[in-house]
Symmetry: C2
């Protein structure tokens, strides 16, 4: 019996300039560059064991066996890693998500990054993080960014080789934190893959979205490098609002907003006008994420605690990149 | 003493393909064509008396004297009418709004159309309705459409002469009704003039809005001529959603939506999925207007009465064009 083990821990991330729409759904090549903040606390631990004794892939998520035939994207990552190292056998994947549902955050970014990391680690060297971001991307676009810590830039590229992530600044170099207001814990009605596809193919505003986002990329990089919170927040808020504008302009129109999403947006504006600087960002769901500096986390949390339950408020700070050992 | 009297009654209207943004704010030339439904019940009655004995314009709204120096747009309409008829004196304007605040509808459309109509009627002939729509436009863009009944097309044009409204079908030829859900009776925070100006000058999606709306115009005309309620509703809903998408994409982003706006949008979708065909439209404010056929008015009203108060629901049917006699 010839077994090969690998482990990886990857953190989830939140996009500051959003990824919204693909130009190639097999390779997951996005229409526009994106920039994200990797988050501490929320991560996936994944162990991969390759063995020539296995007759199929096995995937355990939080100790439960999942039907891997449905897991097209997991298979795509495994196949890409195996082909890179010339390996032929099957894999057992044991994954543990530490991305609480309560956080209202997607676990696919950390999950696919950890899977790619553990698989690469099992079969060979994991030192080429740029290449790891390419492999993670095949599982989930945003996973490419979860390979790195701090603030990360995903270059859209035009083929597998040219579409990868890189770090702009590390988690120690940026003062950017996030208070999530969890509005709805349920699975969203329109999954992001479907939502971005419908938008890209029906919204008359979509080409302008792609252009505006790509134009904002160098501005955001410069804002991050200067630790310019105001500029980062303004660009992030505008990107989120524009992304949700594309769903409203698609045909038929749809929105990820819940009534409380509008409430939270107006509260963010109110808090900001009162002198506590903060900005919202919103992904493909109703939850509102409030960006703020460390000095204001407590005040932001206290303000929103007057309008939402304590367990609807989740704080996250900048997180580190992928790790190949536990703890 | 040489007095000249004129009277006009004009109804308000709701845009099905929205007017949103000007290319010339003196002449109120819009960036795109628009199409509207004139509404019954909600109207303004205006009496204009010109006299060479007056030393300034006097404006009474609902029997209250208003400071006319603040009324730049009223003066603009009066000046244009006076210059057209070579008249030099001043005017007393007595206006009565029958557009209840509760209806959540703007009164500027009916108000400026009635003003232009009464002034023209006082000084000369009012038979040229096309020209009357030009004069009304100088007071408020949407007023150009309130000159006609039924479904009305405002040609954007490129100068005063070429920017006018015309009727597509009369109020008897269309089965299109509106149930307004009044969410907020207060004056909106961002007035529409300011909102459209901010959007037009900062939204990267604005050029696509103009193009998409102008492209939808012939589709809507054809849908109206065929009394194709489904097509009218789909085009109207998409136009409204797109208009609100432009505000979300402006920088800084803003929205006219209140939390209950999202609630009402989702209820419209739910009601439609249940088999009662209806579509939403929303102007520069939080109130949601539900378009439906006559046969469904009662059912639509009953459905929304489970979620909103009875006095938050206002029904309107197709209304007639401007009249120059009372009753």
């Amino acid at each position: 019996m010839n077994e090969k083990h690998g482990f990886a821990r990857a953190h989830t991330n939140i996009a500051l300039l959003k990824y919204w729409g693909k130009i190639n759904s097999d390779l997951i090549l996005p229409a526009n560059d994106s920039i994200s903040l990797t988050l501490d606390k929320f991560y996936t631990d994944t162990e991969v064991t390759f063995s020539d004794e296995y007759t199929s892939n096995l995937f355990y998520l939080n100790h439960q066996l999942i039907d891997v035939k449905k897991m097209q994207r997991i298979n795509r990552v495994l196949e890409a890693v195996k082909s890179e190292f010339g390996y032929q056998g099957f894999a057992k994947i044991e994954s543990e998500n530490h991305v609480p549902t309560a956080a209202g955050l997607a676990s696919s970014a950390s999950g696919m990054a950890a899977l790619a990391g553990a698989a690469v680690s099992a079969l060979g060297s994991h030192t080429d993080l740029t290449n790891l971001s390419r492999l993670a991307r095949l599982g989930s676009g945003s996973a490419s960014r979860s390979v790195f810590g701090g603030i990360v830039h995903w270059h859209r590229g035009y083929d597998h080789q040219s579409s990868f992530a890189e770090q702009i600044v590390s988690e120690d170099q940026i003062d950017l934190n996030m208070v999530t207001i969890v509005i709805d814990r349920r699975q969203k009605k329109v999954k992001s893959t479907l939502g971005m596809q419908h938008t890209a193919s029906t919204s008359p505003f979509y080409p302008a979205w792609v252009e505006a986002t790509n134009q904002a990329i160098p501005e955001m990089i410069s804002a991050v490098q200067n630790n310019d919170f105001t500029k980062i927040g303004e660009l992030a808020e505008h990107s989120a609002a524009m992304m949700h504008a594309t769903t409203l302009s698609s045909k038929p129109a749809f929105t990820y907003f819940a009534p409380e999403t509008i409430q939270a947006i107006k509260l963010v504006e109110q808090l900001r006008e009162s002198g506590i600087e903060c900005y919202y960002t919103i992904d493909a769901g109703p939850n509102v994420k409030v960006l703020c500096q460390s000095k204001n986390i407590t005040r932001v949390k206290r303000f929103f605690a007057s309008y939402f339950d304590q367990d609807q408020l989740v704080v996250a700070k900048p997180g580190s990149g992928i790790k190949f050992t536990k703890n």
